[in-house]
Amino acid sequence: MIQDILILIRKEWKEVIFQRAGGRQSWVSILILLALLGVYLPYMNGVDWLHNPTALFAWAWVPLFMTIGLVVDAFAGERERHTLETLLATRLSDTSILLGKIAASVLYAWSISVICALLGAITINVLFPSGTFQFYNAGMFFGGIAAVLLIAILISSIGVFVSLKAPTVRQAHQKLSFSIMVVWFVPFILLQAFPDKVQDFFVSIAPLLENNLPLIIGGLFLLLVVADAAVLLLAKKRFQRTRLILE
């Protein structure tokens, strides 16, 4: 099955990323992203880039944008281009096809994020040398790349789920963008909607949260893992050849 997943990853990358618009457009956008997150932002922040947690947030949003374009194409794109039925008529198992599609966008986004982070460290060492090799705090770096991985899996799984149902890429794109906006902004909007007393309560417990930061981060990671597993299972349940053919 691993071999089949790798075959699909290769196909997705080759077809959707590197052949889109003759391949040039994709390469240019990747290079712009690397230049921005790997060179420009570290240069502007200086050595702080390696020690300030804002760096983590600066590249945590990358997978959001990197996965959307690829993942909406997963099934809706195949359906739109009339290749889905041929793919389903091959010897590939349902699980291989599903995981291959998800893995293609996860690895794409994740690898670009990791490359950006490493490029950032190189930029700092070249532009702000200190005599010794400077790098991120280990916890921050590994926590960051793990968070990016989990977020990428979550978005890709939601994306594939949306793509399974959408008749066109455009519709899948709209639905996924809307879903992400809901997940992203609804908690903030809800927070604003709470009465002043409740908001004051949140402000009062903020120092308490800061004191238990590792615990909170651990909890958030656990939440992401559970969410990833749940969406993956839903997508797996939704993926049925016999249903896909008729939609």
Binding site: E85, L88, A89, R241, T242
Partner: protein
């Protein structure tokens, strides 16, 4: 006959979409190493039948085995051993022809060296090798169709399903593909299940054909058997010397129903199957100069249309 000799076997196979019975209790067998034509008008149930046989749709009733595997429980094995060209060519148009074939070679786990060799062999055979690096979206419909057929054969399947394989091909390419399909079946023992609207094509290459309409199987048999069912009991004689006396004598014969003469073509319609030798002998005896004699035989197209009308 052992199961190895039967590549496809269906029994009362059914599939329904809401109120529509797309496939309505069809039963037939396809022998291994033969070309089987599945004929029917648009919306007859041909594509649904292929989807059922590939395990892409779940039957609502009945049973079907493909290469000895059950379509419900062993669809993975069926897809492993079959090739399929479905309604759409299913090519990845942003990829080159070579990349398309390479992908399907990888999917079937063909080792790298063999894969490259097979791609070269198949593309050369179809006259596409020189353009293998071009992305498919720049190709003509006919070239894409050829490539789609090639892709179906990439992994040397034991059985291929071809939905309108010659659609969009020029006459030369279509003839060449037909020859290849016949060769596949005769030389390599591959079973070919093809749907086509081109009845002349089916007549030319298929060992057996089935006619389906509104989900029901109307008949199964060799093209000759189908034609004979529709064949009129008539005789066409091309020649000279059809005098009024000869015509009158013919009309007076008890077995003759009608006689028509147009230029040098005499058409004699019999009431039933009759030995035409006697009539030819009679005409020769009357001094008719005979150039050609043809027994009335319907084309597969005529037989097909008659069958559809009959069952309406």
């Amino acid at each position: 006959m052992t199961n190895e000799n039967i590549s496809i076997s269906t029994h009362d196979l059914r599939c329904q979409f809401g109120e529509v019975r797309a496939v309505d209790g069809i039963t037939f067998e396809v022998q291994t190493g033969t070309l089987f034509g599945f004929l029917g008008p648009n919306g007859a149930g041909k594509t649904t039948t292929i989807r059922l046989l590939l395990g892409l749709l779940e039957p609502d009733g009945g049973s079907a085995q493909v290469l000895g595997y059950d379509v419900r429980t062993q669809a993975d094995q069926i897809r492993l051993n079959c090739g399929a060209l479905l309604e759409q060519s299913g090519l990845y148009e942003r990829l080159s022809a070579e990349d398309n074939l390479d992908l399907f070679g990888r999917i079937w786990h063909i080792p790298t060296e063999q894969r490259a060799q097979r791609i070269k062999e198949l593309l050369e055979k179809m006259g596409l090798y020189e353009r293998r690096k071009e992305t498919v979206n720049t190709w003509s419909r006919g070239m894409k169709q050829k490539l789609a057929v090639v892709r179906t054969l990439m992994h040397n399947p034991r059985l291929v399903f071809l939905d309108e394989p010659t659609a969009g091909l020029d006459p030369v390419a279509a003839a060449s593909l037909r020859d290849d399909l016949v060769d596949l079946a005769r030389q390599h023992g591959v079973t070919v299940f093809l749907t086509t609207h081109n009845l002349a094509e089916a007549e030319k290459i298929c060992d057996r054909v089935a006619v389906i309409n509104k989900g029901k199987l109307l008949t199964v048999g060799s093209p000759d058997e189908l034609r004979l069912r529709k064949s009129t009991h008539s005789l066409t004689v091309v020649g000279r010397g059809f005098s009024p006396e000869v015509m009158a004598a013919l009309r007076a014969m008890p077995e003759v129903e009608a006689v028509e003469l147009q230029d040098r073509h005499l058409v004699v319609h019999f009431k039933q199957e009759t030995d035409s030798g006697n009539l030819v002998q009679f005409l020769a005896g009357k001094g008719v100069m005979i150039d050609e004699v043809r027994k009335g035989k319907a084309s597969l197209e005529e037989a097909f249309l008659a069958l559809l009308e009959e069952k309406e």
